[in-house]
């Protein structure tokens, strides 16, 4: 596992966003450690929205930024297509500095390379579904027949076939967001920016749309930056997750890393309630076979259930039920570790690291 990207499609380099007239002074003060966020607010009348955010997203990767409201995540995502200018730092898309682009070049980038989905849907009420979906093509001057054909395909991809000529206010919330999704993919951009796209929907519809999105994402293989305040959603969708708090990216890692190895108490509180069953692998909770043998004097492992190191706790539970033996972990033909019932239960509870050796990290 572990997402190895050859190429950074999106790269954020030390992004700062400070709102207020004396923003530059505020950055200096915070950088040199003189003032805290509250001091900046009181003394300089500035609000720190994003503080020194650096990350990169590889081709085809889904990168989730998770944070509570007010953590600066929606501000951060708007820097990618420069809807917001950073106070300091720069954004590179496929190696090109977005902040150095002229107006025309920037518009071209937005129309051709980047699709965006908004929490508020932001559909145009005076345009029907087809014309909403084809908007990015229309501003680029694509001829009408071609526009309609592309729109039809995008509408089909989000399972809204037959609704082309309806207007947004005739659609339910979930359908409206499907239109938003179709609009974002219609111009066939290589990057998708998703700003809490499913947060305004009720849980069942949200789950369905997450499914649609993951299906689309697997088919189209787009580089995606996905903003959410819902950790379950981030874990379900993201290849990697960044946790954001008060404008700072606190931790960046795979869902498993974040859940099993939280960087601080804030992240730990967050991930505490998350089910580990489909996240944590056998490699994380096992102990080395030799160590187990020494303490338990067991020679014969023949009748034991066997798992691979990347199997999730859920699989281990299935294997453990109905036998008194621990689970043997095999990497290929090599016996490498043992997961006892105790370790498994602790792992489900979230305390798996106590037994995990040095093998966990990938």
């Amino acid at each position: 596992m572990g997402y190895k990207s050859q190429e950074a499609v999106i790269r954020c380099d030390g992004i700062w966003k400070v709102f207020g007239a004396r923003a530059k002074d505020a950055i200096k003060a915070v950088k040199s450690g003189q003032l805290s966020k509250a001091d900046v607010r009181d003394k300089l009348d500035c609000v720190v929205g994003v503080r020194d955010a650096s990350f990169s997203v590889g081709r085809g990767e889904i990168f989730c930024i998770m944070g509570l409201s007010g953590s600066g995540k929606s501000t951060l995502i708007r820097h990618i297509n420069r809807l917001i200018e950073p106070t300091d730092g720069a954004v590179y898309i496929e190696g090109r500095n977005v902040n150095a682009m002229g107006a025309k070049e920037l518009r071209q980038l937005r129309a051709e390379k980047i699709g965006m989905v908004f929490q508020s849907m932001a559909l145009m009420p005076h345009r029907n579904v087809r014309d909403n979906v084809a908007f990015a093509l229309e501003v680029r001057g694509v001829p009408e027949a071609k526009r309609h054909q592309v729109a039809r395909e995008a509408i089909e991809a989000v399972e809204l076939t037959g609704w082309d000529l309806k207007y947004p206010d005739e659609l339910s919330g979930g359908m409206q967001q499907r239109v938003g999704l179709a609009r974002a993919i219609a111009a066939n951009p290589s990057i998708l920016l998703m700003d809490e796209p499913f947060s305004a929907l009720d849980p069942l519809i949200r789950y369905q749309l997450q499914g649609t999105f993951m299906q689309l994402s697997a088919d189209l293989h787009k580089t995606t930056l996905f903003i959410t305040h819902d950790l379950d959603e981030a874990i379900r969708i993201g290849d990697r997750i960044a946790i954001m708090k008060d404008g700072v990216l606190v931790q960046i890692g795979t869902p498993e890393e974040i859940v099993t190895n939280p960087a601080d108490d804030y992240v730990a509180d967050f991930v505490g309630g998350i089910s580990k069953l489909d996240l944590v692998t056998a490699a994380k909770v096992m102990q080395p076979l030799e160590k187990y043998r020494q303490s338990n004097h067991v020679q014969d492992v023949g009748g034991w259930p066997v798992a691979r190191p990347e199997d999730k706790l859920n699989t281990l539970v299935d294997l453990s039920v109905g036998t008194n033996h621990p689970v043997l972990v095999k990497d290929g033909d090599l016996d490498i570790g043992v997961v006892t019932k105790d370790a498994l239960l602790r792992g489900i509870q979230g305390g798996g690291e106590r037994h995990s050796g040095k093998r966990g990290a990938h």
């Binding site: 809807l83 518009r107 937005r110 005076h126 908007f135």
Partner: protein, 312 residues
């Protein structure tokens, strides 16, 4: 200024005289001096207004009535068309002269409203975009709306002379404000997240204006247009004081002769005209949702014709 002995500190204003009225009277002199420069404009607008008036009067009343009813049907639906038809028949039956007088008044109103749109729509859009411009414009609009018409009647007449052009200008001064205000309001109340989405998909500022902001502001702008038309009609009696003909003039003359009957005929004529114009423009302002998301070529008489052609 009477300085010194009898200056009363508790009532300072009665003993200070800055001579504002005398100075302001200079505007009259200024107007008279610049009369010549304004004559070409006056001639142009006068021929425009007369052209519209002659056009309206050249159409036989029954044909004109049918045209207006068809327009009402197209913009506001069948029920309103019926309403407009009744109002127009009542207008025609008020007196034998009522119809031509109403057409003259309609010509003045139409000319005033066309000019008001040409001036007001761009100003309203700029005001919707720029807080500073709106801040400057707002007191001017307040003044235009509240200052009694008689105050600017004299300078306008001195500058332009009596007649239709002065009447149209006086009408515009009074009736322009709501169109500018509501255009600005319409632009300002466009959902900012939709504008942001348009930017995110690479729209140019002009595309955002014409494809997003103006279409979404349209119902509000039409509400402003409706108010401008109504205010124009309410000016026709005052405009008739500077020799603008039409229904307003009837009311003014009837007042002079204490002829209540004639005043009622003229007044009701204005009311009927107001009803007709109000219903037609209110129909224009309905949002897409209210119309059941049908396009203009799918409704009204045009829709009927299109369907008939399709059937063949």
């Amino acid at each position: 200024m009477a300085e010194g002995q009898n200056f009363n500190w508790l009532d300072p204003f009665s003993s200070i005289d800055l001579g504002i009225a005398e100075h302001s009277d200079g505007i009259k002199q200024w107007a008279i001096e610049h009369r010549e420069a304004i004559q070409p404009f006056k001639f142009f607008f006068d021929s425009l207004i007369q052209g519209i008036e002659r056009g309206f009067l050249a159409v036989p009343p029954l044909v004109m009535l049918l045209i207006l009813v068809v327009i009402a049907w197209q913009t506001a639906g069948r029920r309103t068309a019926l309403y407009v038809a009744v109002a127009l028949v009542v207008l025609g039956l008020l007196s034998p002269e009522a119809w031509p007088l109403a057409m003259t008044t309609l010509a003045i109103v139409v000319a005033a409203v066309i000019l008001a749109v040409i001036i007001g729509l761009p100003l309203g859009i700029i005001a919707g975009k720029s807080d500073r411009f709106e801040a400057v414009l707002r007191p001017i609009l307040d003044t235009m709306q509240t200052i009694p018409a008689f105050v600017y009647l004299v300078p306008v007449v001195m500058l332009i002379g009596i007649g239709n052009v002065a009447g149209v200008i006086v009408t515009i001064i009074f009736a322009l404000a709501p169109l500018i205000r509501l255009t600005s309001l319409g632009i300002r109340s466009v959902n900012p997240s939709v504008v942001e989405a348009a930017r995110a998909f690479g729209a140019t500022p002009a595309q955002i204006m014409f494809k997003v902001e103006l279409p979404m502001a349209t119902p509000t702008i039409f509400a402003g247009l409706n108010q401008t038309i109504m205010l124009s009609l309410s000016m026709v009696v005052i405009a008739s004081m500077i020799s603008v003909r039409g229904l307003g003039n009837e009311v003014l003359r009837a007042m002079g002769r204490l002829d209540a009957g004639k005043a009622i005929v003229g007044g009701l004529g204005i009311v009927m005209l107001a009803i007709v114009l109000d219903r037609i423009t209110q129909g224009l302002g309905r949002s897409g949702r209210d119309r059941g998301h049908r396009n203009w070529w799918q409704t009204g008489p045009i829709g009927l014709i299109v369907r008939l052609i399709d059937r063949k």
